[in-house]
Amino acid sequence: MIFLQQLGSLGIRFCRHLGTSGLFLLRVLMRRTEISKDFPLLVEQIYFVGVLSVIIIIVSGLFIGMVVALQGYNTLQRFGAQAQLGQLVALSVVRELGPVVSALLFIGRACSALTAEIGLMQATEQLASMEMMAVDPLRRVIFPRLWAGFIVVPILAIIFNAVAIYGAYLLGVLWLGIDSGTFWSNMQASVNFRIDVVNGIIKSIVFGFVAVWIAVYQGYYATPTAEGISRAATRTVVYASVLILGLDFVLTAMMLEAW
């Protein structure tokens, strides 16, 4: 009986959280905006969320491209199909690894920080005092962070893709000695811009949206204590990572079937 009660309350709590977060997102996105006022804030947030993540994205992209190329080479070599290495790396990076890994890195690098920042603002009542000064905290604090995240994640994924493929080129052509012409032409023959590259970017747009939404919501509704903020940051990372991996499956299934 108690177990059933707990299960029910869990379900109700889940629905309430979902509803709150949906209304919260709607409220933030429905703000009236003035470009002259909001744009500088947006640029600043893009700097913090995006530009500062570029280094980690480039470094991990390079290593992931190289690792995929090395693993792929070892297996392809058994069938004498080393020439297909470019195709293997490009398809796996552009379709799957690029969007997913860059989103996961973004969650670790930026989303946890976003949650902690907004949570601390809430805990020290900075948001409340903004409201006292007739400054709308949703518009001043949340809005630019949300949009910065939406804009930044696809760009990071694109950079990740390009760097990872270059990493595979470095390893495959310069180290393992695959012919550079074969590498690129096999890749170009098999990668379709609309089906592979654009679908990968659509994925990363969805991932960015979900990750930043969760981060901002968790920060805004965090329990205003030190423990509450740390919990909120942890929840952001866990929820966003799990949701992105799940969504990746759903999106891939949709893209392979219908598009």
Partner: protein, 181 residues
């Protein structure tokens, strides 16, 4: 500080665009698949095997166009295949023949065009009459196995005939020696 932040964000955006350009041209080879001026022709095939839309159309291995649509003719039950051909290749004789071929042993299908000898050239909306269906590997193997069995039986028969003939020969030889004695 403000200026450098803006500059960095601008650089970040540029980096993203550069990445997109690399993905578009270097990785997916977008430029070679979009000839600007094209014309359309159609052809009816008995069997297209695993041919798909966007499969290449080639003359002597050179890509000149691609499959634009595939549908079934409701009356003849043949596969109607539409092709888009680059306008640069406007000197293809109208009596050319098409065949569905396979890249390598297990590769993807493409359509090969063998030019004919007519002086009239293909133009927008024409239909190519001579087509060769795809070779379905399974039926080919089935055919081969069947052939093998038939050959086997024939061999056995041949052996029988040969051994009988040998016996006859030896018999006649014995008779000959007996008569001789």
């Amino acid at each position: 500080m403000k200026k450098t932040v803006e500059g960095m964000v601008g650089f970040f955006m540029l980096l993203g665009m550069a990445g997109l350009v690399v993905l578009a041209f270097k990785v997916s080879g977008l430029h070679q698949y979009t000839p600007r001026h094209t014309y359309h022709v159609t052809a009816a095939f008995d069997n297209i095997g695993g041919l798909k839309v966007r499969a290449p159309l080639r003359i002597a291995g050179v890509r000149i166009g691609e499959v634009s649509d595939i549908s079934l003719d409701p009356k003849t039950y043949k596969a109607m295949v539409g092709f888009v051909i680059s306008e640069d290749e406007n000197n293809i004789p109208i009596d050319s023949s098409l065949s569905v071929l396979t890249e390598g042993l297990l590769g993807t299908n493409y359509v090969g065009l063998v030019p004919g000898f007519d002086t009239q050239m293909l133009k927008e909306g024409d239909q190519i009459q001579e087509t060769h269906p795809a070779i379905v590997l399974e039926s080919l193997i089935g055919h081969f196995l069947y052939q093998l069995k038939v050959d086997d039986n024939k061999d056995k028969k041949d052996d029988k005939v040969k051994s009988e003939m040998k016996q006859e020969k030896s018999l006649t030889a014995e008779e000959v020696t007996a008569e001789h004695k």
